[in-house]
Symmetry: C2
Subunit: 306 residues, 2 copies
């Protein structure tokens, strides 16, 4: 058996796992990121976590083939530099200290790319073109072509969430208006749910104290008219963006991840129906569309094995 360590570096926690060559997680651990302590502390926390993961599995760091780190920002993989990651206050931070402290080769990649690669491994790594779309705080996306992550000549590509669904629509943090993620992310669904409750106080959702990405789906299950409309419209937003993705890439497979994808096949099947009705390709084989398999573990597996 070969050992790999995959690290999912987040703004709040650093999740790490020992992974075998087949993408199976043998052990998972998590420590606080401690952004407030600065970049050196974060780098130390990552090194320490790698050591701890090995300790708990009774192996030595020297038995680990590689450490992979998924970073919420832009990376220069070749030179081992995290170019910037706003949630970590990172600006040109080298990962060499981790390599020196652990004595293991370290590779970094973008976290959405790591998650996409994890799902690609989980799906059998057979698709020559594979796209993972994560419906979360925003919309993350990872593009894998011929087994390799594609993100453009400068490493900043794959921002599918930042393509217009409605020009001059809802203001996006990227500076434009009407980006797909302003309509189809989990955050957008929560906003749409809240707006619907405000306009429809008779909805059973108005009794809820906490509104999240599940609120409308659960109320729709009970036949609530307002919730049914919210869910229907949200599915349309997700599917319209997916049609765009498919018209451009015609990937063999699209995997939908993020909290919303836990709604599973009842959700995915309605997205699929819309996409297959409206995509440009009417004659040839269609892209396979499924829910994610690994969810939060995708980043660890992808970082470990890329």
């Amino acid at each position: 058996m070969k050992y790999y360590i995959g690290i999912d570096l987040g703004g709040t926690n650093i999740a790490g796992g020992l992974v075998d060559e087949n993408g199976k997680i043998l052990k998972k651990l998590s420590v606080p990121t401690e952004v407030e302590r600065g970049e050196n502390a974060i780098i130390d926390n990552i090194s320490d976590l790698c050591g701890k993961i090995c300790d708990e599995n009774n192996i030595k760091l020297s038995q680990v083939e590689k450490i992979g780190i998924g970073v919420p920002g832009t990376v220069d993989s070749e030179n081992g530099m995290i170019m910037f990651a706003c949630n970590l206050n990172f600006n040109k931070v080298s990962i060499k200290p981790i390599e020196e402290k652990c004595g293991v080769s370290v590779k970094i990649l973008n976290d959405a790319d790591a998650a996409a690669y994890g799902e690609y491994v989980a799906s059998g790594s057979k698709a020559d073109s594979f796209i993972c779309i994560t419906l979360g705080t925003g919309i993350g996306s990872g593009i894998i072509i011929n087994g390799k992550i594609y993100n453009g000549f400068n490493g900043a590509g794959g921002e599918i969430g930042h393509t217009t669904l409605i020009k001059d629509g809802v203001q996006c943090s990227c500076g434009r208006k009407g980006c797909w993620e302003k309509y189809a992310s989990a955050t957008a669904l929560v906003a749409q749910t809240k707006a619907a409750i405000k306009n429809n106080p008779e909805s059973i959702m108005s009794k809820e104290t906490v509104i999240n990405g599940q609120t409308a789906f659960r109320a729709a299950d009970k036949g609530d008219e307002t919730a049914l409309k919210v869910v229907e419209k949200y599915i349309e937003y997700v599917a319209e963006g997916l049609v765009n993705v498919i018209n451009i890439f015609q990937p063999k497979k699209v995997v939908i991840g993020g909290g919303i994808s836990r709604e599973g096949e009842p959700f995915i099947s309605r997205v699929r129906e819309f996409v297959y009705k409206y995509d440009y390709n009417k004659y040839l084989d269609k892209t396979e569309i499924t829910a994610a398999e690994l969810f939060n573990d995708a980043g660890i597996v992808g970082a470990a094995l890329y």
Copy 2:
């Protein structure tokens, strides 16, 4: 010197050229497609054109390395089958008869892909990621990654013109509403120009008898207020779609072709300014954006050399 023949198979004419290994067209000829005579006649016309091209250059068909054909439809390159091409009434047509009649190996590819590859060759074939956008009757697009045309697992990808700019906007022939090509193609510009003239009879454009893709640009040159607004809005439509392309691909280079791109640098520089202001990448190198170099010859060169 090595000889290649590139064929640009259109609904009205078949354009063909003898091309050297550097992409230089040595001789160009064109014959009517004669769609009304059916698929066998068209296939014969292509073979005859290849013969004629060689005759006029005093070479033999046997001296030609390869014949490449750009087809307005979907192709199965591997098996030499044109799967369908609605403007030609083609449905599963084999190109083997051309191979047999000419005694030269024949390769087919999609015409937008051929044009993109031609522009890629003209640009020096150095960009590891290259996208050609053609603003014509619709919006054509060709994606070249690591020197290879990318069009998905089923060959139907690269339909960037059919991505939403405005969800639920102008009805598109593909079945959806609000596709980019309904706002940023040459056809769309003509429609926008006509609508503006109707609403602004004081515009100097109202004296024109023929309205085409140049009408608004020429009137804007003369300071016509209505035309200036049409051009400004059109540039915004082109650029918004380009920002989407760049946020997804971050290609090394984007080339804009089609009749509109003959407006050259005054047009391209305004598109570029908008794109660089609104694209997601604020820190790293930017995609190079230029006008096409080969225009109508791109399809011939690309088909010949791919």
